[in-house]
Structures are given as C-alpha cells and as structure tokens.
C-alpha cells in the first residue's frame, strides 16, 4: 500500500460497511483503513502496537465516529490536531449524534466538517458524498 485515502474510525460494523460501500460505490476512495476503536486509530496513525511495523504513510483524510470504545472520537480528534505530524490532515466527524454540543465541540477543536449520519439510505449516501471535498482530485469519480 503506497497511499491511504481514508482512515475510518467506526465501531459499528453495519455503519462501517455502509460507509465503505458508499465511498467505494461512489469511487471516492479506494484505499480505506477501518479501525474499530480510538486506541487502535491512535496506534495506526502513530505506528504503535500492532501497527508499529506498518509502512510510514499517513492517510489523506480521517473520518471519525464520536462514540467509539477506549478512546472517544473527540479525544482522538484532539490528539491529532495538537500533534505536529498530524495537525494538517483533514478530519471529518461522521456521527449519529445530532446534538449541537457535540457539533460545537468538534468544530472548536478543528474538525473540517461534522456530518450527522441520517437514517434513510439515500440521505446517508448524499451525506457521505460530502467527504469527496476532502479527497484528492485523482481519486474523484468521473461522472
């Protein structure tokens, strides 16, 4: 793997599957890494633990769910944006929470976007397609 388009932090398997399905079907991202908790996300990004041996490359975009095990998405966001290595990587929050408090906190920390996961599949597809803004042109699907 010479590049990582997107790192997805999502503990819910169906949501992860749906997200990846939409991203791939829309041709927005091919090389997607999926981690299931905050600690794993940190390990992956900073090549620690089981990811210590992985290739030294960083994802182009990081998509976080907030309510994830071990380390919350918001904590991961804080760590990433306060670290020199990762502070320039765009981070988008993709959450089921429609609470303004969550939204405000994420924007305050420096998230590029906060997307509430809708319930209907069509609305979900539309929402996920917004991620395209943060992915490199070369990977944009040609419609």
């Amino acid at each position: 793997m010479s590049k990582i388009d997107l790192l997805l932090l999502e503990d819910n398997a169906t949501d992860a599957e749906l997200t990846i399905k939409v991203l791939r079907s829309q041709g927005m991202a091919k090389d997607i890494v999926h981690v299931k908790d905050g600690a794993e996300a940190i390990d992956f990004i900073f090549r620690k633990g089981k990811y210590a041996e992985r290739e030294n490359i960083l994802p182009e975009l990081i998509v976080l769910d907030l309510k994830v095990p071990k380390i919350f998405g918001i904590e991961v966001l804080e760590i990433l944006l306060s670290n020199e290595l990762t502070k320039n990587i765009p981070v988008v929050v993709l959450s089921s929470s429609s609470l303004d408090s969550d939204k405000d906190a994420c924007y305050k920390l420096g998230a590029k976007a906060y997307i509430v996961k809708p319930i209907g599949f069509d609305a979900f597809t539309e929402a996920i397609s917004q991620l395209g803004h943060y992915l490199s042109q070369g990977d944009q699907p040609t419609e």
């Binding site: 819910n12 949501d15 907030l66 959450s95 609470l99 319930i119 209907g120």
Partner: protein, 724 residues
C-alpha cells in the same frame, strides 16, 4: 465728732464768753462808776463837813479874839465864816439829795448853827457895849458850849455816816474789782485757750481739707485723664438732646470730629430716627431716674457701628435730675467676633448634637463596650447587659473572657488583638456566651482610640446581635447542604439523562439506519428476488425506520430546549418568519397556501429558538391547510401592555377546543396520523420555547374552520416597530 463741730462749738463758746464778759464788764463798770460817784460825793461831803468843823473852830477862835481885843476885824471874820458855813450847808444839802437821814441831820445842824449865830450876835452886842466880862462869861456859859458841842457832834455823826457809806462803796468797788479781774482773767486766759484750740482744730481741718483737695485734684486729674483717654463715648445731655459735656472717642469711627459735636444738639449730627430714639430713651431715664443699658446699631455718615451704652441720670447744680449721662462702648468688633463665635458655637452645638445623636443612636441600636488598653471593660451599655445577661457591675473591670464561648480558635483571637493593638479597626463575627450559658452571635467592630503618639489607650467595641441571622445562616447552610445534595442528585439524574439522550441520539439511530439502509439496498440490489408485496414491505420497513428517526430527533430537540440557556438578541421576527417560510417552501414545494405577513416587528429573543418555534408553527399551518381549498395563512402581531402578541392564523382543519388541554403536551395528537403525519412534539417544543422566554402560548380553533396560534413575548422599551 467731726472737727467742724468742734470748731463750731469752740466759736460759739468764744462768742458766748465774749458777750458774757462784755456784759459783765459793762455792769461792773457801771457799778464801779456808781460806787466812784458815791465815793467822790462822800469825799466831798466829808471835805465839806471837815471844812464846816474847821469854820466852827475858826468862829470860836475869832469870837474869843474879838472879845479879848474887841477888834471888829475879828468879828467880821466870824460873820463871814458863819455865812460860809451857811453856804456850805447849802452845798451839803445838794450833795446829800436822796440821803434822808443825812439831810435830817443836816437840817438839825443848820438849825443849831442859826441858834449859835444868834448867840454870836448877842455876844457882839455885849462886846460893843463894852461888857467884856459879860461877853466872856456868856461865851463861856454852858449853854453856848453845849450848843457848839452839839453842832460838832452832829457833824461828826454825819461824818461817821458818810464814812460808813463810803466804806460800803469801797466794799462794792472792791467786789467789782474782783469781778473785773475775774472777767479779764476769763477773757485773757479762757478765750485765747479756746481760740487756740479752735485754731488748732481749724488748722487740722484745713490741713485735712488741703489734703483732700490735693487728693481731689489728683483724682480729678486722673478722672479727666481717664475720661479723655478712655476708648468710650461719654456725653452729658439735657432732655432736648443738647450736648453739655462730650468726651467721645467713638466719634472718629462715625467720621465725626469733636468740633462737630461740642455744644450741639444730637439732631445736628445724628440721623433723625436715631435722634428720636435717643431722646425717648433719655426721657425714660430722666423720668424713671433709673440707669438704662442698651445696645444699638447705628449708621452715621454711612458708617455702621454697634454701640453698647449705659445711660444714667445726672443732677444739675441745684440737685435736680436734668441731664442724662451716656457712656458708650463700640462693640462692633466684639459683636462680629461674637457673631463668629456664636456661629461657631451653633455649628459646634449642631455637631455636638449630631455626635450626641450618633452616640444615642449607637447606644440605642448597638451593643457597646469600652475597654482600657489592657482589655479591661470600663464601660458597657444596656444592650451589652441585655444580651450578655450580666449586670454592669459584673462586667466592669472584667475582660471579654467573661463572655468567651470558646468557639473561636486561638489564632482568631490573636489576630484580633494584633490588629487592634496596631491601631487598626478589627471587624468580624463572634460567638459569645451569656451568663446563663446560652450563646449569641455578634457582628463586632473594634475601634482603637489612639493617643497623641498613636498608641491605643482604649478600645470601643460596637456589636450588633446577629444571632438570628447566624441561626438563619445555619439553617440556610443546612438547607444549602440539602440543596447541594439535591443538586448533585439532580446532576446525577441529568448526567444519566444526558447519557440516555446521547444513547438515543446515537445508538438508537444506528440500528434504524441499518434497517432503513439494508431495506433500501435489498430493494435496489436484490429486486429480482422479490415480488411486489415484498418490495412494499421493505418500503414500509424503511419509512417506519425513518419516522422513528424523526421521532427521536424531535424528542431530542424537546429535551435539549430545557437545558439550553437563552442567547438573546434584538431579532426582526417578521424577517425571520419570511426566511422560515422560504426554507419550508424549498423543502416542500407542494405548499400552495397564500401567506400574508404583517408589519415588521423587532423583539428581544433567542433567534435560533425563535426560528425553531416558527418552523413548527408554520409547518403545522401548512400541514393542516394542505387539504383546504384556497388555503390562507396570516402571521401578524399586536401589542398588549408590556407584551407583544404574535399569531399564526390559518383556515385549515382546525380542532375541537375541548381537547385544547392536550394540544401542547408532547406525543399528543388531535388528528390521525393517516390524515396529518407528525410526531406530536412540535407544539410541545413551541410551548417550551415560549415558556423559556417568559411568555405564554395559546390557541383558538374550530373544527374545519381553521386555527389561530398565539404566543406572547415580554416587550421591552428598546423593542420597536419597524415599518416595512
């Protein structure tokens, strides 16, 4: 007795003596003259009688000679001598006028002489006849001798009588001489003595007089010096105001000179009003004959001075009260000083009164204790006794340990003493113990009173009873603790609620999304394996999952409004309404209602919440007019006292007013979901938003005749109508 009296008596005595002496001398002299006359008469009588006796002898002798010689010459002598004797008898008669006895004797003698003379004639005739012998015989006869002896005896008798009367006169004279000697002695000794005494007395008197006079002169000089130099006005005037005497040191202060005043009438130099006043006053003094004092401010020549004067009656030379003497002192300066002092005094008194009032107020309201440098109580007021339940006697001399409750730490007490001993005021709240063992709290201020070197010499502690407050505070503290527990309970509940809400928001949506998404995916990607009914079921599955999602969203909204704090801003509600309607039209292009919006209104509110409110009210209005022909919606407002009332009126389905109570409750619906879809949360959200703003929401409706939803917002003056 006064010297004058001695002199008077002396003079009277001298005069009396002189008069008595003169009188005595006069009467004595008279007697002496009388006696002298008598003596000289007696002498003459004696002389005549002696002569007479000698003539008798002469006659006898010459008769004898004649007889012897018969010479007629001799006889002639006898005749002449007899004639002389007769004459002598007449002389004696004249001398002895008034001396009857002598005169009788004289007459007898003269008769005897006449007889003798006859005998002489007879003898002569005998001689002439030459009968010498017979003549001798006759002469020497007894008869003639007896006659002559008788005459001589008579004369002797007379001589004897005269001599004895002479002796009497001489005796008298002698007595008078004694009197004269006495009188002279009297005058020569007593009068000079008395006069000497009087002289001495007079001399003494004069000396005293001179002394007095000298003293008087000195006094007069002193007095005139005093009067002339005294800084006072002295004037003597009569009832008409004519100046008799004037020494006026105050003239200058009125711009007057002595020349302008001397011998004038007061009306010549004083204003008429003053003249009248002074005259009246003077008359009073003259009538009553009593001293008067007065204080007057008068203006002369434009100069105003205040004069204190004493007027008293003065007698003229005849002792009649005719003049008034007036002594005046210029007290203008003193007056102004007095005025300053009076004002200062007044101020001082006011301040003193204020201080006293403060003291009184303090004493009445506060608990006061004064202690000496060592902290020994030297004064307590009643309030102190009342609260501590000790008597003054029990407290005086004690220190405050008597009311120590032991509640406060040693550091607390030490801090108190350090503060006040350094001259600073200490404030704090103290718990004290009364005599009966009960406790009381006092708010304490201790003020050190500093001496000149800045060291405290006593401390004044002003306290107020805060026991009740402290008890309240304790109960408040307890309540607070209770409240804190409740709050922490609430917080916990809130936290749980938050977790619950979060779960609802997050976790409940995920399975719904899975249901919806996979139902959709199944429909689109595996359509061939499904019949029409299967596809419809999957559609229902998707719809319900999405409705559930909306329900969760609404519920979350409703729940979060309660926790939100308002962020108020002046908001143009009318413009906001237009925006909401436009957005709703974009979401639902089927909206066909005719919408009218009233005049623009700006009001203080939370714009985000207000937008949510309007979204709910308008979407309701659109929803319930969706089946109405020619649907109309009106949004307008009016002012009612201090509230602004907004309303959304439609001509839609309306509702039955008997269910109005349920209208604003969450999850309550007045229409079947089949007719009008919805969650039943919208109006509950509206009510919550309005309540949060301090307003009310209500509705008016009739079935199939439309509904009007009103909401009120507090109207603040700053809010204004802005014309469209």
């Amino acid at each position: 007795m006064r010297i004058e009296r001695y002199i008077n008596i002396g003079f009277i005595v001298v005069v009396l003596l002189y008069v008595a002496g003169t009188f005595l001398t006069y009467s004595t002299n008279k007697e002496i003259i009388e006696a002298g006359k008598e003596l000289s008469k007696s002498n003459r009588v004696l002389y005549q009688l002696e002569s007479l006796k000698r003539e008798i002898i002469t006659i006898q002798s010459y008769s004898r000679a004649y007889i012897i010689t018969s010479d007629t010459e001799f006889f002639k002598v006898t005749s002449r001598t007899i004639d002389s004797a007769y004459q002598r008898g007449n002389v004696l008669r004249n001398l002895l006028v008034g001396e009857q006895q002598q005169l009788v004797l004289l007459d007898s003698t003269i008769k005897l002489g006449q007889m003798a003379a006859k005998r002489n004639v007879y003898m002569n005739s005998l001689v002439k006849e030459g009968k010498k012998d017979k003549a001798v015989q006759f002469v020497e006869s007894g008869e003639v001798v007896a006659l002559i002896t008788k005459i001589e005896a008579m004369i002797d008798k007379m001589k004897e009588d005269e001599q004895s009367s002479m002796a009497v006169s001489e005796q008298v004279l002698k007595g008078q001489q004694k009197t004269i000697v006495f009188t002279y002695g009297l005058r020569a000794v007593l009068v000079p003595l008395i006069l000497l005494a009087v002289f001495i007395l007079m001399r003494k008197g004069f000396r005293a007089l001179y002394k007095t006079q000298a003293r008087l002169t000195q006094t007069a000089t002193l007095l005139s010096g005093l009067i002339e130099n005294a800084p006072v006005a002295i004037s003597v005037r009569d009832a008409e105001g004519n100046i008799i005497i004037i020494y006026d040191a105050l003239l200058k202060s009125f711009g007057l000179t002595t020349e302008q005043v001397k011998g004038k009438n007061i009306s010549d130099f004083l204003p008429a009003a003053e003249t009248e006043r002074i005259k009246l006053k003077d008359l009073e003094v003259l009538k009553s004959n009593i001293k008067r004092e007065a204080e007057n401010t008068l203006t002369v020549n434009g100069l105003t001075q205040t004069i204190f004067s004493v007027s008293f009656p003065v007698r003229d030379e005849e002792g009649i009260v005719n003049y008034v003497c007036n002594i005046g002192i210029n007290i203008t300066d003193r007056k102004s000083k007095e005025e300053i002092i009076r004002k200062m005094n007044e101020e001082l008194q006011q301040k003193m009164k204020a201080v006293t009032d403060y003291q009184y107020a303090l004493d009445e309201s506060a608990i006061i204790a004064v202690t000496d440098q060592a902290g020994k109580i030297i004064h307590v007021n009643n309030n102190f006794c009342r609260i501590s339940k000790y008597t003054t006697q029990e407290l005086i001399g004690q220190d405050h340990r008597i009311v120590n409750s032991g509640y406060h730490s040693k550091d607390f007490i030490k801090n108190l003493w350090t503060t006040i001993a350094s001259g600073k005021v200490w404030r704090g709240e103290m718990k004290n113990k009364a005599k009966d063992g009960t406790y009381y709290w006092v708010d304490t201020t201790i003020v050190p009173f500093l001496n000149l070197v800045g060291k405290p010499f006593q401390y004044v502690a002003i306290r107020s009873d805060i026991t009740k407050r402290k008890l309240h505070e304790e109960s408040i503290l307890a309540l607070n603790q209770q409240l804190e527990t409740t709050i922490s309970d609430l917080k916990e509940a809130n936290k749980e609620m938050e977790i619950f809400t979060y779960s609802v928001a997050h976790d409940m949506r995920t399975p719904l999304r899975a249901i919806s998404a996979f139902a959709t995916l199944l429909q689109s990607e595996h359509a061939t394996g499904l019949n029409e009914e299967g596809k419809r079921f999957l559609g229902i599955l998707d719809d319900n999952a999405q409705n559930m999602g909306k329900l969760i969203d609404s519920l979350l909204k409703y729940a979060t409004i309660g926790q939100t704090t308002l962020s108020l801003a002046q908001t143009n509600i009318t413009a906001l309404a237009s925006k909401v309607i436009d957005e709703l039209r974009v979401t639902d292009p089927t909206i066909k209602a005719n919408i009218t919006i009233g005049n623009a209104k700006t009001i203080q509110c939370d714009p985000a919440l207000m937008k949510l409110l309007l979204q709910n009210l308008f979407s309701n209005a659109f929803k319930y007019t969706s089946r109405t022909n020619a649907p109309k919606i009106l949004f307008d407002s009016y002012q009612d006292n201090d509230e602004m009332i907004f309303f959304v009126k439609d001509n839609g389905a309306g509702f039955d007013m008997q269910y109005i109570d349920k209208l604003f409750l969450p999850f309550q619906r007045l229409h079947a979901e089949e007719d009008f879809e919805g969650t039943g949360i919208g109006l509950a959200i509206v009510q919550r938003i309005i309540q949060k703003h301090g307003g009310t929401v209500w509705a008016d409706a009739k079935v199939n005749q439309g509904a009007t939803f009103y909401f009120s917002l507090p109207y603040i003056k700053n809010d204004s109508y802005v014309e469209n």
